[in-house]
């Protein structure tokens, strides 16, 4: 599931889950699954952020090297 989801989608879904929980739209029964999903999403987001940061740094290092 990690591959196809985008950071944007993942973050939006995370926000949606948080909003649902905040507005009491989730029952305790669903909470565990939602928490799991949220955790996956957070991981996906972090991973994507880290990867992107590495990519960007690498590119910029190259750019600097070339002058």
């Amino acid at each position: 599931m990690k591959e196809p989801i985008t950071y944007t989608k993942a973050f939006e879904e995370l926000q949606a889950i948080v909003a649902e929980i905040e507005q009491g739209e989730i029952s305790v029964d669903e909470l565990s699954a939602k928490v799991k999903r949220a955790s996956e999403l957070i991981k996906v987001c972090k991973e994507k952020l880290t990867n992107t940061e590495e990519d960007v740094n690498k590119i910029l290092k190259e750019l600097d090297a070339e002058g």
């Binding site: 950071y7 305790v28 957070i42 992107t52 960007v56 750019l63």
Partner: protein, 466 residues
Amino acid sequence: MSELIRDKTVFTLTEVAKSIQKTIADRYTSAFWIKAEMNKLNYYSHSGHCYPELVEKVNGRVVAQMRSTLWSDDYININNRFLKMLNEPLKDGIKILFQARIKYDAQYGLSLHITDIDPSFTLGDLEKEKQETIERLKKEGVFDLNKKAVLSLLPQRLAIISVETSKGYADFMEVIEKNPFGYKFFHMLFPAILQGENAIDSINYQLSRIEKVKSHFDVVAIIRGGGGDVGLSCYNNYAMAKTIALFPLPVVTGIGHATNETVAEMISFQNAITPTKIAEFLIQKFHNFAVPVSEAKQQIIQEARQQLLDANSLLQSEAKLFKHITIGMIQRNKNLVNTHTRSMIQDAGYVFRSERNKLSTARQTVLKDATNQLQRAKQETGNLHQTFVRGSKTFLAAGNISLQSLEKNIEIMNPVHVLKRGYSISLLNGKAIRSTGELNENDLITTTLFDGTFESTVKKILPQQS
């Protein structure tokens, strides 16, 4: 004089010419001020004389034409004044206001002998020509065309119209070639005359050549410099100006002079006072390109990092919020469950207490009411008991009383009491004698007294007389 030939009066050509000469000399005794266009100056350098060709045009068509002469001394004098006032020499194609005498020569025919030319008229006319050029270009809608031409983002390939040996060209190349930024230009010189009448064709010619290879160039630079300010009215020329205006590449001009801006400069894509300025203009274009590019790097680095930082902090705050509200929700539910548990414990306890109370009340009620009822029954029984005792006694007393009363009555009726008082009862044959009629003499009667009886015989009967 004239002769008659076959009835006709015939003059010789000389006679006619002399007649005309005389007539003109008689008629035109003084000099006139005339205005005309000097189509050609026709300067003869070895003699120093000029034979200007004068015309008048209406709507471009020649309606009058005349030859003229300007002698060397006059020419030098007038030309100096022109140069001084107009920055232009006497030249072809200008309008002039001149003083002349009409002269007829048998050999050369009619001509005007120019003695003076007013440079201020020509100045006005040149100015007028400039204005006309501007108006015409505007009217044709081409005035702004070169300004609207698209200058390459990097005007890197330069077609230079200049003179290789000129100071302007050298200045320009110095700036372009030795720029400290390492900007690389490609340039190619298209040599041309840059001032005077010939400049028009020369420049137009080179422009036409450049146009052929325009795809190799980004910009045309017309560079002049060090040649003084004379002979620049060519840049007001309609033909040249139109060529520049219509030129497919942007044309930049660095003509370098202190006089009024020429039309060519006005309509050029960019005009600079000096060739150096043109070079700087081009360098500036490079800057305009190079600076954003190198800034772009910084901006992108900064923004990308900032965005990642922002995204990261947003993500973290979302994660924190998520944790907070999730734990809050669990806590809330725990509290609810606990509240319900406590409430149930309390309520169950209350049920027990309440039921115990009810039972206790029932017990007390039973005890109280049973006791009361027994008490009441005892009371009733006791009352009845008393009533019974009293009734029994009363009953017996009443029996006694009635018995005694009867006894008294009987006692009263007992004859003994009458007998005691002296009365007696006499019986005849056992029956009480109530009347004398019942008696017969000698009847044996028994008389009862209170304390006994006695017997006697009736001797005499005495009935009561009433």
